[in-house]
């Protein structure tokens, strides 16, 4: 009983000075000083313009650095007559043109995730290559507004699938997919596959053609990617229809975005503005027709 009273008093003695100090700090200064000019968030660039720091960084460097995957991913990024071309490249050139700086494509990234990593670490200003927004990427970079949406698609080996499906209908068997799914390693599709096909075993392959070959051989039941890639395979070889089939998902879309650094808020707004002003968004079929 006695010790309780004692400890309460001790706490009071400790708290009192802290309270007094806080009250003093909160008191406004007695005499009002002259108002200082607000510190401008803008930065002056070499030609005298005042710009947001993330934009100014690019202007002062005289170069927009864009991280792009090492491999071609037509029709988004591909080499044509010794130059880069494609949907993504055109969008990036547009950004550089509006910023009035030259553009440099950094093609050192070996996987899609590496492209994102380069943007996150500040090695590049922007990142493209048919990149989709995922929860994993959302932890290190910002996404622009979507410039295209691609339906998800499965390239299915008929024989292997029939073995898994048995009496179930196609849609039933796909919903409860219990087989194996081949995906491109280090891409958004690993995450998509785990999220959308909970019971399936996801098998990553170093390249997409390897995943496709595995599906053709029946090593995996299906290969999982967007409708463009999957339909390209079937279009290239119509005789595949005997052994392979496709499934497209109307409610699953891979949302393609430009990757922007975590601090580059104005650059993000700038890219969004350009995406919003795009006059025509090509459809999947139109893209397939213009494949190189």
């Amino acid at each position: 009983m006695k010790s309780g009273v004692f400890s309460a008093m001790r706490a009071l003695c400790l708290l009192l000075p802290i309270w007094c100090a806080a009250a003093l700090a909160a008191t406004p200064p007695a005499a009002p000083k002259a108002q200082a000019a607000p510190v401008s968030p803008l930065v002056r660039v070499s030609d005298g313009r005042m710009l947001a720091p993330d934009i100014a960084r690019i202007i002062n460097r005289h170069e927009l650095i864009v991280a792009v995957l090492e491999r071609d991913t037509p029709p988004f990024v591909y080499a044509k007559d010794g130059e880069l071309a494609g949907v993504d490249i055109a969008l990036m050139r547009q950004v550089a043109k509006e910023l009035q700086v030259p553009i440099r494509f950094d093609r050192s990234a070996k996987t899609y995730d590496e492209v994102v990593q380069q943007v996150a670490s500040g090695q590049a200003d922007l990142g493209v290559s048919k990149l989709a927004r995922t929860l994993k990427r959302a932890q290190s970079v910002q996404f622009s507004d979507p410039y295209m949406r691609l339906e998800h698609s499965l390239l299915v080996n008929r024989l292997a699938f029939a073995n898994v499906a048995r009496e179930q209908s196609v849609s039933q068997a796909v919903r409860n997919f219990t087989g194996t799914i081949g995906v491109l390693a280090g891409s958004a599709w690993e995450e998509f596959a785990r999220r959308n096909f909970v019971y399936a075993k996801v098998v990553p392959y170093a390249t997409w053609p390897k995943a496709v070959e595995a599906a053709k051989r029946g090593e995996v039941v299906a290969a999982y990617r967007d409708a463009i890639e999957v339909r390209t395979i079937m279009k290239a070889d119509p005789s595949l229809a005997l052994t392979m089939r496709t499934v497209s998902f109307s409610d699953l879309q891979s949302v393609l975005c430009v990757m922007v650094g975590s601090r580059d808020n104005m650059l993000l707004a700038f890219v969004n503005e350009i995406v919003a002003n795009q006059t025509e968004v090509p459809t999947v079929s139109a893209l397939l027709q213009h494949m190189p």
Binding site: A162, E167, V174, M234, L240, L242, V247, D251
Partner: protein, 428 residues
């Protein structure tokens, strides 16, 4: 030998197997050389089959009721029905086994060249639906309705016989006719007599009608074949030659077996039986519809081979509806072809399963025709874990030819089953 009338002479000409063969060839040639013109010809065949179908319902109902009524009056109806079941099951299993042995010997679809498989893929790929499925992954769909016992009875019992007759549901009409026939058989002779006479009139009138409608068979055969070949071209046939040849060969063997059975039961020579069955055969090939062959079957078995009219009239509709020897053989061939196509090795148990499922599917196909019948191959494929949708497109592409053989086997097989159930006719 008495001199035949002009009408009868023409009928003999038009049902001659060689005439049938020549007409199919001629039609194929026409469709191949002038596809644009031939596409218009398929209408002739459709009108013709409609004309024949028109006769099926009144014929079947009157024949079944009439013959059951007589059977009851003379006694022995129960014994016959037991024998019918036994013979039908035995014939179904025999057809399935023969098809399995034949297909395993010929093995169509195995060791196909890359180019042949590519040609198949092109045919399948050309029909977009079978190669791509559009679906929403995260929408919960109601589970597909499982077939319940109630559904089975529902497909057999007509709650409204006039609606069933109007809708052309042969199986339900048959069930009604059977029950009604039993009931009429219980009535005192005096009351039932007038109905019996009426039914006999309907029955004979239908037979006369059929004879008239049958006259233009050669022309119809040419038009139908030309129309079908014009629609699909010869490419599918070339690609699927292995399967078609296999099925045609098995059909020939089954037809020969059926003819031998009929010849044994009737005590007639094989030549006599072939002669009696030619109208049935020709109609089956020309119409691809077994029900339309019923009048010809009765005619052949009763008038030519002297089987008891009462029994034949009851048994022909029963066997045509329930015993689908052609379809069963087709299911077996189709499933084994798919397994070879996808290099899927089969164990003895697998083959046994295919035979069993095919026999059951054969009974399930009662009352079905055409593409619906083909889709039943999917049942056996499901059990074996084989993909069916791609092969389905290929089967549909060559079905005009296969359906001819399928129907011919079904109707001649039914005749053989009827001859097994009936008592042997008195030697003439």
């Amino acid at each position: 030998m008495k001199k035949l009338s002009k009408h009868a002479q023409f009928q003999r000409f038009s049902t001659n197997p060689w005439t049938v063969f020549a007409c199919v060839l001629l039609g194929g040639l026409l469709g191949w050389s002038a596809p644009a013109f031939s596409k218009n010809l398929s209408i002739v065949g459709l009108v013709y089959v409609d004309l024949l179908k028109m006769i099926v319902m009144p014929f079947m109902v009157s024949a079944v009721i009439f013959s059951l009524q007589k059977l009851f009056r003379d006694g022995g109806a129960g014994k016959i029905l037991g024998r019918v079941m036994l013979v039908f099951v035995a014939f179904s299993v025999a057809a399935a086994l023969a098809a399995a042995v034949g297909t395993l010997l010929i093995r169509p679809g195995s060791n196909m060249s890359v180019s042949a498989k590519a040609a198949m893929g092109n045919i399948v790929g050309a029909s977009g639906d079978s190669s791509n499925t559009d679906m929403a992954l995260h929408r919960v769909e109601p589970p597909p309705k499982a077939m319940t016992l109630h559904d089975v009875f529902d497909s057999l019992i007509p709650s409204n016989i006039f609606a069933s007759l109007a809708a052309g549901e042969t199986l339900k009409a048959l069930v009604f006719a059977l029950l009604f026939g039993f009931a009429v058989g219980q009535l005192p002779g005096k009351i039932a007599e007038s109905l019996g006479q009426t039914l006999e009139t309907v029955y004979h009138a239908c037979q006369v009608l059929t004879r008239w409608v049958n006259l233009p068979v050669p022309l119809v055969l040419i038009c139908m074949t030309a129309g079908q070949i014009a629609e699909t071209g010869l490419e599918p046939l070339r690609t699927m030659l292995g399967f078609v040849a296999d099925f045609l060969a098995i059909s020939l063997v089954l037809l020969a077996m059926a003819v031998l059975v009929i010849s044994r039961r009737s005590g007639r020579s094989v030549a006599d039986v072939v002669d009696a069955m030619r109208e049935t055969f020709t109609l089956g090939v020309a119409t691809n519809n077994s029900a339309t062959c019923m009048p010809a079957m009765v005619d052949g078995l009763v008038e030519r081979l002297n089987f008891s009219r009462d029994r034949v009239e009851l048994l022909v509709p029963l066997s045509v509806s329930l015993l689908r020897a052609g379809a069963i053989a087709y299911f077996v061939c189709g499933t084994l072809f798919i397994s070879a196509l996808y290099s899927h090795d089969l164990t003895v148990v697998d083959v046994g399963l295919v035979v069993l499922v095919s026999v059951l599917s054969g009974f399930a196909s009662a009352g079905m025709a055409g593409i619906l019948t083909i889709s039943l191959i999917g049942t056996a494929c499901n059990y074996l874990g084989l993909p069916f949708e791609a092969a389905f497109i290929l089967f549909v592409a060559v079905d005009p030819i296969c359906a001819m053989a399928r129907t011919a086997v079904t109707v001649i097989g039914s005749c053989a089953a009827v001859s097994m159930v009936c008592t042997k006719p008195e030697p003439v």
